[in-house]
């Protein structure tokens, strides 16, 4: 785990977010899969767990809070990071109270998200060391 690349799932129904973030996050060697639909993302999660899930909060059909709840129910060690718009900071707080690792408000720089992912990665790795 210590030297393995992170498996990151990115869910946002706005195509541009995945399109721009994927290459930016892959620069550090991590594996990134992008999804525009929550349902497809959750189905993929059932096939293979991810270390980190980055999800937009406002999406049609399945929103970010539901993704958060379902992901944590499937895998308690996965860190979920919520992406919010300007008007949804309150909901983001709700997400934190439900176990989200952190949240980031749009617009943001990939480097800002990378910082959060690094913190999540540290926690994941320290958790791995404690259990081995």
């Amino acid at each position: 785990m210590a030297n393995q690349p992170l498996k990151i799932m990115l869910i946002d129904d706005e195509n541009i977010v995945g399109k721009r973030l994927k290459p930016a996050l892959e620069k550090t060697g991590d594996i990134v899969e992008t999804f525009e639909e929550g349902k497809k993302a959750l189905a993929r999660f059932d096939e293979t767990p991810f270390d980190i899930v980055v999800t937009d909060i406002r999406m049609e059909n399945i929103d970010g809070i539901e993704i958060l709840e379902q992901v944590l129910a499937k895998s308690g060690r996965t860190k979920v990071i919520i992406i919010t718009g300007y008007a949804t900071v309150e909901i983001a707080r709700e997400a934190l109270s439900k176990g989200a690792f952190d949240f980031i408000a749009k617009p943001f720089k990939p480097a800002d998200l990378r910082g959060i992912i690094q913190r999540a990665s540290k926690e994941l790795r320290s958790g791995f060391l404690h259990t081995t």
């Binding site: 946002d12 706005e14 541009i16 977010v17 399109k19 721009r20 973030l21 718009g85 300007y86 749009k106 617009p107 943001f108 720089k109 990939p110 998200l113």
Partner: protein
Amino acid sequence: MNILKKMKKIGHKESEIRDFCIQTIRFKKFLENARALLDLFEDGREKALGEYIFDRHYVVTLIDSVVERLGMMVYDACVLLPESGEALYATYDTHKRTAENLIDFSGFVKKNISSGDVTPETSKTVEPEYQLLSEVLQWFNGKDAPLHSTVMAFMKQIFSKVVQGQGPNEIIKNRPLFENCCGKIPDMGIYLIDLWDDGVALPGGKSSIHDFNSIPLNHLLIDTGARSVPNGADWVAAVGEYQLSLNSLRADFQFRLVTLASGDADADFIFVFADNAAILDTLLPPGFHIENSGYGQFAWNLGISEKTIEDSLMIIGRNLFN
């Protein structure tokens, strides 16, 4: 004292001074809305540089915010200059329509892809969100945009109208009123009006600059020598603790300075208007953005630190009064 008694107490001269104070405060509000618009332009420009991840929602929110602020600015202008209301609101409506068309733009691209007018390859070259933001920036202040069609051009038009209508000629007309209130030969040749106290009661008791607790006024005059103006004042200043509105009373030198020096860099600003007789390049310290119009020159410095605002006002004061 109840409101009726207070109103009865306010005499004719007091109500004129009160009107002057209200107009001064409204003009500051007008500038604050203009400043908020410039901040929105800057935010959009920053996001367009390519480093940020944003979605369509951001661009639509930006457009909505600009329309809302522009509306507030137009409202302020109409309060200051009611007779210009119809023309300003007509232009404002045009901008609202432009904004609506811009928001529809992404839909337009999608529609045309499905109908075959625009090939998917063409649309792939620029992401729709970036394309939309680029269009929005053109509408704000684009060099390629048709003349007078930008928000910036409209802002300049509003500024010119307000400054002309509210301008030095109007203020000069009030000279007898200021003289009555502040004495024939005031300290430093500046009629001083307390924005908050003198609006409800005739100025009295304060005869010297030192009687006024105004941070920006102190900065402005800190490096100026004693000044005697035997023929009466050539300036009028409306002041608050953090606020200063300085106006020339000379017909041959039109000058207006409005500043907020609260110590909060995000809110503080200096705005200057001068006719073409003044050479703002030499009058103002570096760091000001200067715009020329047919009517005169507008200059502003926004988001400035406490130290910069202090230094800037000191330099302007020295150049104006020494």
